[in-house]
């Protein structure tokens, strides 16, 4: 079989392949090394950090749903200072592209982190989370109001020389409007989508199942919503998209590429199959060969041309 070129250009980065992992599902890059070698991945996105350390929400933080998972971790993280001291030195030695994910509660928070994270840090890009549903003002108001989104992306862009990826919330009426706002702010790429706000109720205890009441829904359950949003944004906005939301198999990954994603990211799918990235790469290769495509880049947005 002819070889398939996986090289993916995205927001100024050259990735060895288009398969990434999602923030919040892959820790700080060390947790899955016994299952999936980092050098096999196009890149990883680290757990979201905030300026100050956070303990996050109480347990229960997780609730399973049909083909899905609700989580309300609440941005538990060691904080910027500890990240810079203990994690960044390790991260820069990792044999893959590493994207940091930042969250804040004010414009100043985002700027403070962007200021500390520049291209000499060894990071490949900054993903700006303006869409966390699990903490009060956990960036989500930046993610649901186009003016705020534009403002925060512009401020981060002006502060760091790293490529900026805006991670958008699906909990909006007009995803295209949000994508355009991020583009106006100067985003180099978009991550689509974060989790969908949901909840479950314990019918025996007659109270919400999650300590936080609401949580973000992820997993295969949300995939059709994510594919639709990638499709809409790809149609309307000229920015590369990292497609995510329930990707678990190579078929899922192909759907996102065909819908217009330049790269794809695996989140909850890692919990189901910690070798999902490897299986997806294998499947993508066979798919390209079967369809006579010498590069995976040829698949991007193909369904729009049909």
């Amino acid at each position: 079989m002819s070889p398939v070129d996986f090289t993916t250009m995205l927001a100024g980065m050259t990735l060895r392949n288009p398969v990434l992992t999602c923030s919040g599902t892959y820790g700080f890059g060390e947790e899955y090394v016994n299952y999936c070698p980092l050098e096999a991945l196009g890149g990883i996105t680290l757990k979201g950090i905030t300026p100050l350390p956070r303990l996050g929400n109480s347990v229960p933080r997780l609730a399973e749903t049909p083909s899905g998972l609700l989580n309300a971790v609440g941005l538990e993280n060691p904080g910027l200072e500890e990240f810079l001291r203990s994690y960044l030195p390790k991260v820069r030695k990792m044999p893959t592209e590493v994207i940091a994910n930042i969250s804040g509660f004010s414009l100043e928070d985002y700027v403070q982190m962007a200021n500390a994270l520049q291209s000499d840090s060894g990071l490949a890009a900054l993903e700006v989370n303006i869409s966390c549903p699990n903490v009060k003002h956990g960036g989500m108001h930046f993610g649901t109001d186009p003016c705020s989104a534009e403002e925060v992306i512009a401020a981060v862009k002006a502060t760091t020389d790293l490529p900026i990826i805006a991670k958008l919330s699906p909990n909006v009426t007009d995803i295209v409007g949000m994508a355009r706002a991020a583009q106006r702010g100067g985003a180099d790429a978009l991550s689509l989508i974060n989790t969908l706000l949901g909840m479950r109720i314990d019918i025996d205890q007659q109270r919400p199942l999650l300590a936080n009441t609401f949580g973000g829904l992820s997993g295969p359950a949300i995939r059709p919503v994510a594919v639709r949003m990638v499709w809409q944004v790809a149609d309307a906005v000229d920015l590369p998209i990292i497609g995510m939301g329930g990707i678990t198999t190579w078929q899922d990954a192909v759907e996102f590429l065909l819908a217009g994603a330049t790269a794809i990211s695996i989140g909850t799918g890692n919990f189901v199959n910690p070798q999902a990235p490897l299986d997806i790469l294998e499947g993508l290769k066979s798919y390209c060969q079967k369809h006579g495509r010498s590069t995976v880049r040829d698949l991007v947005g193909l369904a729009h041309k049909a």
């Binding site: 820790g27 700080f28 997780l62 399973e64």
Partner: protein
């Protein structure tokens, strides 16, 4: 719902060195899968053959994919964490004991001999073993399961082991493996809620009685007694409230206690922060540890039992 200690903390999150810890994704061949005791107790015994036994220790667990093997499906989505009840190096086998109590375990219960189940493991940190002296095991209900592997390795190491076990009634205790425990030839203190076997009441009452018998009525702190106290270590698994009571009792007598915590898990490898347990460190600061990776076994004295944390 609000944690009374809502202050943000600065705790050095240690990066774990994971080389050589044997953790892997593998397939376990189902060699035995049967009811444990009476079917109405809904307890199952699952023996899997595979390489995990080689590096596993008591107190660790595996994350089992629960899927009807004939139809690929992502519902239920997540793997189920199940503790190791027995580790057989000779046979390369691990034994998982579980209760059918939801959709996931119902589907798992259908796995037939000869099938292969996808498992991740061995996961987490197991029990630590005292070098000498007595190991007291305190179990509530099916919390007995991970303690069997611990008893086996403690006995193999020449330790004296004593079991305190409380359950609903005789039928439960017998189904959940009482005979296998009796075969180990160690002293067993049983209690049931209805008095149908052993003492009527809670397992903690039995433990308290034995602690008092061993150390006398007063809370002892002098050095001579400290030495004797150090000869005993307690390991417990069961409902949270029971483990809390066991910890408090042990702390009264300065007896070290290890607790095996349970929490809803996502990734099972420390990546998603879904299953945290609140601990209080030596400086008196509240910190979160991951039940899947830093636990499931913690030092009882360190656990903050307040549910809202």
């Amino acid at each position: 719902m609000n944690c009374p200690y809502n202050a943000c903390i600065r705790e050095t999150h240690e990066l774990r060195i994971r080389e050589g810890d044997g953790e892997m994704l593998t397939e376990g061949l189902v060699v035995v899968h049967e009811y444990l005791g009476e079917a109405e107790q809904r307890l199952r015994r699952l023996v899997l053959r595979g390489p995990i036994a080689k590096t596993a220790k008591a107190g660790q667990f595996v994350a089992v994919q629960v899927q009807d093997s004939s139809i690929s499906s992502f519902d239920p989505l997540l793997r189920r964490p199940i503790s190791l009840a027995e580790i057989s190096l000779d046979e390369d086998e691990i034994t998982l004991l579980y209760r059918i109590q939801g959709r996931g375990t119902e589907i798992l219960a259908r796995a037939r001999c000869g099938e292969r189940l996808s498992i991740m493991g061995p996961l987490g940190q197991g029990f630590s073993m005292p070098e000498a002296g007595e190991l007291w095991l305190v179990a509530g209900g099916i919390g007995i399961f991970p303690l069997y592997a611990l008893a086996q390795s403690a006995l193999a190491q020449g330790l004296t082991v004593r079991l305190f076990w409380g359950g609903e009634n005789q039928s439960f205790l017998v189904s959940a493996g009482l005979k296998a425990w009796q075969a180990l030839g160690l002293p067993i203190h049983l209690s049931t809620l209805d008095g149908s076997l052993g003492d009527i009441g809670l397992v903690t009452e039995q433990l308290q009685g034995r602690l008092l018998q061993t150390f006398g009525q007063t809370k002892l702190t002098d050095q001579a007694h400290q030495l004797s106290l150090n000869q005993i270590m307690v390991a417990t698994c069961g409902p949270k409230r029971m483990m809390q009571a066991v910890t408090e009792l042990c702390m009264n007598f300065a007896v070290p206690v290890q607790v095996s915590m349970e929490e809803r898990m996502g990734c099972a490898v420390g990546a998603c922060l879904g299953c945290v347990c609140t601990l209080i460190n030596k400086e008196g600061t509240l910190i979160h540890k991951k039940v899947c990776q830093d636990g499931p076994v913690f030092r009882g004295e360190e656990v903050v039992w307040d549910e809202s944390c």
